[in-house]
């Protein structure tokens, strides 16, 4: 038996259209998605009508502050919504619902975007659907790659989780015990004053390609959990030595005696962090006896991570890795529209009184009513 996704379909209408608003971190995203009636399948896929994003970029050496990020979102949200509607060629009255990120994320930016969502809902008399950001990533990743029931590695600026579906929940098998992988990369980029444009992680990835020497770093995996703060402290002190004017002891490669470069540090940091991520993913695969991996979240666009994951699954029978490009793995509005619409189709509507956003909203709190496998 499969779930009936059309219990709430409007008579005479053969499709649904939803608008999604995302602003839980420094990206503001607006997406418009269309589902035709019936189960989503290879021949009945969700249709992306618009997917627009604007990123708040902070100066090198600085992270994005909640207040400034919220201001950015407020300044841009109306323009982005108008643009999305015109790209999609739809009017507010064509929509079925307004979906918004309810959490997790940074408080002020979340709150600035939900105000836009509430306003639209009242303007056009449409129901609101609050969406868990992580579930948005997972559902969009599944839809784009059409992977059935993968183990999900969710890696972004604020999250690091290994997730598998079971009994209508996305259950967290492993996660970081301290900081998120994206946060670790961003903070290291700040130490090295690597630019935040287009993204610190992207710039580290490019520098890492030029790295030659591996500098040993702590490697901390606990069961399916991992810890990254020790690595960050270690590599930040290496970087500090590198830039100290006093000509203190600078790190050299053990074999060649060559000086360690910033590129070597980027390389070593990525190799270490990603090895741990691939290892905990493999642990989860073994544990749930699966062989599919889906990588979602901003760090998921890193090609080295994708490559390493590919090498791992190659040694598991019928293994495969699914990932999406930056349009879908970096925070975006379309994933919120898509996951929200799945909820809407099951009757999951968020009354105005309950649209308060929350910074902490765990992936496994969401009732995944639209799946029953």
């Amino acid at each position: 038996m499969t779930v009936d996704l059309d219990k709430y379909a409007k008579p005479g209408k053969s499709y649904y259209i939803a608008l999604g608003l995302e602003g839980s971190a420094n990206k503001l995203g607006v997406g418009i998605i269309k589902h035709k009636l019936g189960q989503l399948s290879d021949s009945n896929r969700a249709e992306v009508l618009a997917n627009i994003r604007d990123t708040y970029v902070s100066p090198p050496g600085e992270g994005f502050l909640p207040r400034d990020t919220a201001r950015h979102h407020r300044n841009w949200v109306v323009r982005l919504i108008k643009k999305a509607l015109s790209v999609a060629g739809v009017k507010g009255t064509d929509l079925d619902c307004i979906c918004f990120t309810q959490g997790p994320g940074m408080g002020a930016p979340l709150q600035s975007v939900v105000i836009a969502a509430r306003t639209l809902s009242q303007l056009w008399n449409l129901p609101l659907v609050g969406v868990n950001h992580c579930v948005g990533h997972i559902e969009m990743g599944r839809e784009i790659t059409r992977s059935e029931n993968p183990v999900v590695l969710y890696v972004s600026g604020g999250n690091t989780q290994v997730i598998a579906y079971s009994k209508q929940r996305y259950r967290i098998f492993g996660e970081t015990l301290d900081i998120a992988v994206g946060n670790c990369l961003d903070r290291f980029a700040r130490t090295l004053r690597i630019p935040n444009d287009p993204a610190p992680g992207y710039n580290i990835e490019q520098m890492a390609k030029k790295g030659k020497h591996y500098v040993p770093l702590p490697y901390t995996v606990k069961g399916m959990d991992l810890s990254m703060s020790g690595i960050l402290a270690n590599i930040e002190s290496l970087a500090a030595d590198m830039f100290s004017s006093k000509g203190g002891k600078k790190a050299v490669d053990e074999e060649t005696g060559e000086l360690i470069t910033p590129e070597d540090l980027c390389f070593s940091l990525q190799e270490t962090l990603f090895s741990m991520l691939v290892e905990i993913t493999e642990r989860a695969l073994a544990h749930v006896q699966s062989n599919q991996v889906l990588i979602v979240g901003g760090v998921g666009s890193n090609e080295r991570l994708q490559e390493m994951m590919g090498l791992m699954v190659r040694d598991r029978k019928n293994g495969s890795v699914y990932s999406t490009d930056e349009r879908f793995c970096i925070d975006n509005g379309i994933m919120i529209a898509h996951a929200g619409l799945l909820g809407y189709r099951m009757g999951q509507i968020t009354p105005l009184d309950n649209t308060v956003c929350t910074q902490r909203f765990r992936t496994d709190e969401v009732f995944v009513e639209w799946r029953d496998d």
Partner: protein, 258 residues
């Protein structure tokens, strides 16, 4: 598991015939009737060969150091467990360089043909027989908790407690898989060990996890109050549980941005 891995193993284990038991998280596990150095036709025991293959995804330097430290760490831990009288397979022989450990085979085959890990046994009961909350399950969970209590009272940390790393044997439960093990007397480390298990139970046995977890903790407490250990044991139990609550809260409160 793929042929490449099996071929690699065959090359390292020349003249040893083996059956594949599992491709676990990081190791390949084989079963054999051949003893690595005795040549005894009367010997009918079976042995487990645990092989940590090269992981092509990671940098060779990371790979070498992990394989070596985990293999050595696991063997030393098993040796200490044997000395402390905590149930676990005995080591038969090792090859650190190639990441191979031979050990005693424990457990039996479940009616569905799977190895008797706690996970497989509970799954079998959950799926096939629908009698997950029987007294027998409770008794076994309490025994497992007791075993983990014993482990911690020896200041030994498993590091990867899941229901697949606990074997059920005719003589009672036993621990396996010590690649992530360590030694510590800190309540924090013991609490994290318990937290890892609790989370593994929640995700693998979602429907019954709260009962299983409470029985496990009951056994864990029992080990601390049984009087085999110093009077401090009771006090340290209280401290560990307090820590466990902190660790849980930390998990839920961790800010999750982006």
């Amino acid at each position: 598991m793929t042929d490449r891995l099996v071929d690699e193993a065959k090359l390292l284990l020349r003249n040893v015939s083996f059956q594949i038991v599992s491709q676990g998280a990081e190791a390949l596990v084989f079963k054999t009737n051949i003893h690595p150095y005795f040549n005894d036709d009367q010997d009918e025991s079976s042995y487990i060969i645990k092989y940590r293959p090269r992981k092509p995804y990671r940098h060779p330097k990371i790979d070498k150091s992990i394989t070596k430290s985990r293999t050595i760490g696991e063997v030393k831990f098993m040796f200490k467990l044997a000395k402390a009288g905590i149930r676990a397979p005995r080591v038969v022989s090792t090859d650190y360089f190639n990441g191979i450990i031979w050990m005693e085979h424990i457990g039996y085959s479940l009616p569905d043909g799977k190895e008797s890990t706690l996970k497989n046994w509970l799954w079998y009961l959950e799926k096939v027989r629908g009698e997950s909350l029987s007294e027998e399950v409770q008794r076994i969970c309490v025994e497992v908790g007791y075993l983990i209590g014993d482990l911690h009272l020896n200041d030994m940390i498993h590091g990867d407690l899941t229901s697949s790393n606990i074997m059920l044997d005719k003589k009672g439960p036993a621990l396996i898989d010590f690649g992530l093990s360590s030694y510590s007397a800190l309540p924090e480390d013991k609490a994290v060990d318990l937290y890892v298990l609790e989370r593994a139970m929640n995700s693998t046995h979602a429907d019954y996890a709260s009962e299983y977890n409470s029985w496990l903790l009951k056994g864990y407490e029992k080990a601390h109050s049984d009087g085999h250990y110093s009077k401090q044991a009771n006090k340290s139990f209280v401290e560990i549980i307090k820590r466990l609550e902190d660790v849980r809260l930390r998990g839920r409160k961790r800010s999750m941005i982006g």
